[in-house]
């Protein structure tokens, strides 16, 4: 149990996917203009990460390791994640229309999010068991949500700030992201 807690804290704070590992920067910068959509994006990512880590673990354990085909990890994970997201999207559209509308365009976009592939590859690298993998995927998603919501909060305030003309837009966003990453580096002694 303690083991799972360590994995959770490690993925959320110490090895935050966005701010420490620098994975998934694209949605982190692209969808962090307002808090509302960034929460949706975070939830959708958490959902897909959890699911993808479970499937990736099963695939790796029973097919790739069984046939000694570990070198196909990247390709097969991409294949699985892409199909999975498609399937989930159809399922949600059928079952819960409001949820589908809330996740909107974000769900298919997540397919190409490198943080998802990162989670799948990391859990193989760290040799987690099935339960640990799922917890790892979920906490990586929580970490992503935390980072993107903090970023959106700052950027909403930034709209009102008197930013020098040449720093407006992307430059100031990257500077803020850098400061946030520095702050998260402070967690590195936690575990």
């Amino acid at each position: 149990m303690f083991n799972l807690l360590v994995i959770f804290l490690s993925a959320v704070l110490v090895n935050n996917y966005v701010l420490v590992n620098f994975l998934g920067i694209c949605p982190f910068v692209g969808v962090s203009k307002k808090i509302g959509p960034s929460v949706s994006m975070g939830l959708a990512t958490t959902f897909v990460m959890t699911l993808a880590s479970a499937v990736a673990w099963l695939l790796n354990k029973y097919i790739l390791e069984g046939l000694n085909l570990q070198f196909l990890q990247t390709v097969s994970f991409i294949l699985v994640i892409a199909s999975l997201v498609q399937l989930v999207e159809m399922f949600i559209k059928k079952v819960s229309r409001p949820l589908y509308d809330a996740l909107g365009i974000f769900l298919p976009l997540i397919t190409t999010n490198c943080a998802i592939l990162g989670v799948a590859l990391f859990l193989v690298l760290k040799q987690y068991n099935f339960v640990e993998s799922i917890v790892f995927g979920f906490s990586a998603g929580v970490g992503f949500t935390l980072a993107i919501v903090i970023m959106a909060g700052i950027r909403e305030e930034l709209e009102l700030a008197d930013v020098p003309r040449y720093f407006k837009g992307a430059p100031i966003t990257l500077i803020v992201a850098g400061c946030l990453a520095l702050a998260f580096m402070g967690f590195s002694g936690l575990i």
Partner: protein, 272 residues
Amino acid sequence: MNYTSLVYAIISMGGLGLFFSIMLMLANKKLHVEEDPRIALIGDLLPGANCGSCGYAGCANFAEKLVGGESQVTNCPVCGAEAAAKIAEILGVEVSFEERKVAVVFCQGGKGVVKEKARYTGIKSCIAATLVSGGERACAYGCIGYGDCVAVCPFDAIHMNTAGLPEVDRKKCTGCGNCVSACPRNIIQLHPISHHVFVLCRNLDSGRNARAVCNIACIACKICEKAVNGVGFIVENNLAVVDHDKYTKELILPTDKCPTKCIVIVGEADEV
């Protein structure tokens, strides 16, 4: 070379791909949601760039809102007139495109027309001159003449003429409004292309003072207002303005009657 792993790799990857494609195919049939067929039709006609300019999350979402009657085709700035017309046909509504707007410069006080009050040797920019003394020209409302509007035009549609006044190329102008916000004197406005008659002066001083600084200034003599019986021209705050809602071509143009010639016909009659 290890042929076994090659075969395994091909079989397992091909198998996975086949498995997922069959599963998705089945799921697509099984989980199919009945939608208004017009949504798919309109989705095909929209640009598909998911730029978000319409205010919705992507083209598919916009198509749904169109069918639901919550939005209008004209909210999509990317899709052309042809696609918009087709979409409108599917929806059974009519599109009315807004008329193209072009910039109009409301000043004729070029060299030799407006009095000069000083010699300005600072930075050749209207906004810099405004900070110091308002440049060389005596009129406090008119063009300063250093071409800030020319510098910001991304379409090469506004140029300084020999008199030191900006001239708009009405064919090239897209109505983006960059020059409107660049002008520190606010003498550039956007007007529909069908508007041709303008009082090209923004001087709010009394007639005497306006005349003292510029030969082509509106002196608020109200001759134009009287010539059309108050329909089409209104004189307010010492300045005549054209009321484009009421002004029609049938009215006699009081251009000749204006003693200072500040009522001007801009552009060609049949331009679009």
